[in-house]
């Protein structure tokens, strides 16, 4: 074995990993908004949803490989390592996002909240159809807590236009308001049921 300084190197490597993970997550607001919870032991989870469904799930793996060319190490500074780590972290977080969307798709199919555009362009009414099928909560001031809309970057302009339409088109606004009235009533019912009865 050749002389080394393992403790300090490990400390630096850990700091680099943490910094790149943080930076990668900041670039992915959706993943960043989801709370991480560690399963400290065991190999599966069971979730009983509020509507009584019981789902048993095993663990899924998201992984990526990182290799280092030993011949290049002498000329390779920490900037190169940070770049490699960032690329690997990006791949890993993309893999996690993929698993997340697979899970959302599975859950929404089960819940019956899937709305298919069937190849037609995204429209305000399509968005309202989706809103109609969701459970919406309201805050203490009675304002709806809207779900997060996750879209492909290619749809960004289209969605901006749709937003304007939803604010300015009276028919769309009227339908939106009617939906919110229904959702608020549903929310009131849900909240009123949070009680101990005979």
């Amino acid at each position: 074995m050749l002389p080394d300084i393992p403790r300090t190197k490990e400390e630096v490597f850990l700091l680099l990993q943490q910094a790149t993970a943080e930076a990668a997550k900041n670039a992915r607001p959706l993943l960043k908004s989801i709370q991480v919870e560690i399963v400290h032991e065991g190999h599966e989870t069971t979730t009983r949803t509020t509507d009584g469904h019981v789902q048993r799930r095993g663990m899924k793996k998201a992984e990526t490989r990182l290799t280092v060319d030993l011949t290049k190490v002498p000329s390779q500074g920490l900037e190169t390592t940070a770049r490699m780590l960032r690329e690997a972290t990006d791949r890993l977080q993309d893999a996690q996002a993929k698993l997340l969307f697979e899970e959302v798709e599975r859950a929404t199919k089960l819940a019956g909240t899937v709305v298919s555009a069937q190849g037609t362009p995204l429209s305000a009414n399509l968005l309202l159809d989706a809103l109609e099928r969701m459970e919406i909560d309201f805050d203490d001031d009675g304002n709806p807590i809207y779900p997060t809309l996750v879209i492909s970057p290619a749809l960004e302009k289209q969605v901006t236009l749709l937003s304007e339409q939803m604010e300015n088109d009276p028919a769309v606004q009227s339908r939106h308001d009617a939906i919110m009235v229904r959702k608020k009533a549903e929310w009131f019912d849900r909240e009123n049921n949070r009680k101990l009865v005979d």
Binding site: E37, H40, H43, T45, R48, T49, R194, L196, V197
Partner: protein
């Protein structure tokens, strides 16, 4: 190497510390241990009373270190008692002859050996000769007991060395203790079963005696309680895993319990003798003080509950009543890991007759968990006291969030339901119904005794909305669907301390077991 370690331990171990290991040695040789002096003066010169393999009562006097002429003279009266007074125990008939041993972890000096020979020549008929069991023989016997259960492979031997080097001032690394014991017993590799699990359990007890020396030396009694509770939990895991008959694990388990009881008794005495509860660097002790009060209260309350469940008359703890109970307002809640401490104290004050205060304590805890879950949450019970303090101080950052869920809330709500606290539950139901309730069930169940189980199911759910009070009460009172393993239920009185040391094992079924046992005992009392 193990010979060196054992020899080193024998030279340093106090009589108190050596007692548990010595009794394990006796068990391995076919003795039946009837009594081990827990603490305080010996009874008629006998630290240990046992029946030898032929059923003959035997008294042992234990001495740490070498015995020279001066020491022999000072202990002469105890030797006389050892020889002339028959061991006094309900399992021993009054007229039975007995054996008498002087056990020393060191050597007998030449003049002492001669003195003992002279002494034996002068013993009248009808009294036993003084037999000796000392240093070199003890060392050989300890090493023989380990046999093939020594940590031979490098990772586990490395763990063993790390455990030997534990800082006795610190709380022990129970994850490391568990990994070590899992290999030694052995729990994950059933192909090793044929080597004799009972002997492995015995070897484990000796190894635990070695690794707990640092905490013995520092008189860190809470640390000792934690280490021996971990060992006892692994013995239960072994018993359950291999379906051992009681006589193959219970004696070793009871030795561990004796060590736990001894540590708790001495802890209570220490508290009674202190004028303050500050420890270590006083300049920064305010960081740990409140949590220390919580932990001490939890340990002593849980031990008192155990005594009650075992039918002891003097189960109430005066140190708890006089020193800790008045400091309840100073208790600090470091995370869900402290909930079993609070619950143990609630059970204790309920047993003492103050059920109103007990209910208020549990109710307050449940509401605190509910409120916290809605904002940032409390660290779950997988995080120990020190880790939680480090997060609070910003020295470390948790890699997960704690918002929106709780591992212990459901147990507390069922506890309140069983006490018919309908109104209290009704006022907290709305907020509590937003909290995701979590519990982990190890698979197979014998892994309950392990610090972490690689297999098992983390179950999540929510309270029903609306919830029928009748159904809630029925569910809280009914025998749980997923009970604790049989071996754990056999020693129900162990459960309160088990939950204090293993807070991540607190789930509704475990709390139900203790509640039911306490209720039954109260009914009998």
């Amino acid at each position: 190497m193990i010979e060196r370690i054992t020899e080193n331990w024998l030279t340093k171990a106090s009589e108190r510390e050596f007692g548990t290991a010595f009794c394990q040695l006796l068990l391995s040789r076919g003795f039946r241990v009837l009594h081990l002096t827990r603490h305080g003066p010996t009874e008629h010169g006998k630290d240990v009373i046992a029946l030898d393999p032929k059923g003959l009562p035997t008294g042992f006097q234990l001495k740490a270190g070498d015995i020279d002429q001066n020491r022999w003279r000072r202990m002469y009266g105890e030797i006389e008692d050892l020889i002339r007074l028959r061991p006094n125990h309900p399992s021993i008939a009054g007229n039975q002859r007995h054996r008498a041993f002087l056990v020393a972890t060191g050597q007998l000096k030449e003049e002492v050996r001669l003195a003992i020979s002279d002494y034996n020549r002068g013993i009248p008929r009808g009294y036993p000769r003084l037999e000796t069991w000392v240093g070199g023989e003890l060392l050989k016997d300890c090493v023989d007991l380990h046999g093939q259960f020594l940590p031979r492979d490098v990772p586990n031997f490395g763990r063993f060395l790390d455990l030997l080097r534990m800082d006795g001032r610190d709380l022990p690394d129970l994850k490391l203790v568990s990994e070590f014991l899992t290999e030694v017993l052995p729990l994950e590799d059933s192909s090793l079963r044929d080597r004799g699990v009972t002997r492995a359990i015995g070897s484990g007890a000796l190894l635990v005696s070695y690794i707990s020396h640092a905490h013995e030396d520092r008189e860190n009694h809470v640390g000792l309680v934690q280490i021996w509770v971990a060992y006892a939990a692994h013995v239960l895991a072994s018993a359950q895993r291999y379906n051992l008959p009681d006589n193959e694990w219970l004696p070793s388990f009871m030795l561990a319990w004796n060590a736990i009881g001894r540590a708790c008794d001495i802890l209570a005495e220490e508290l009674a003798g202190r004028s303050h509860l500050v420890q270590g660097n006083a300049f920064v002790d305010s960081l740990a003080y409140g949590s220390r009060i919580t932990l001490l209260t939890g340990v002593l309350a849980a031990y008192a509950l155990s005594q009650f469940l075992m039918g002891e008359d003097n189960w109430a703890n005066s140190s708890l009543d006089r020193i800790l109970a008045p400091r309840v307002s100073e208790m600090q809640f470091w995370g869900e890991g402290s909930v079993p401490c609070l619950l143990a104290f609630a059970w204790y004050i309920e047993l003492c007759g103050d059920s109103g205060r007990a209910v208020a304590l549990v109710d307050g805890c449940a509401r605190s968990l509910t409120k916290a879950a809605q904002v940032g949450g409390h660290p779950n019970p997988y995080y120990g006291l020190e880790q939680c303090l480090r997060y609070n101080l910003g020295l470390d950052h948790p890699q997960e969030g704690f918002r929106g869920y709780s591992y212990t809330l459901c147990s507390l709500m069922h506890w309140l339901a069983r006490r018919l606290c309908r109104d209290r539950l009704a006022t907290m139901w709305r907020d509590a119904s937003h909290v995701r309730l979590a519990e982990f069930i190890p698979r197979p169940l014998w892994r309950t005794g392990l610090w972490r189980s690689p297999m098992g199911n983390t179950c999540y759910g929510f309270l029903d909305t609306p919830q029928s009070w009748k159904e809630l009460l029925a569910r809280a009172q009914a025998i749980p669907k997923s009970r604790l393993p049989h071996a754990f239920r056999l020693v129900q009185w162990f459960l309160p301390l088990f939950l204090v040391v293993y807070p991540h094992r607190m789930r509704p079924a475990a709390v139900w077991e203790i509640d039911t046992a306490l209720g039954l005992r109260k009914h009998l009392a």
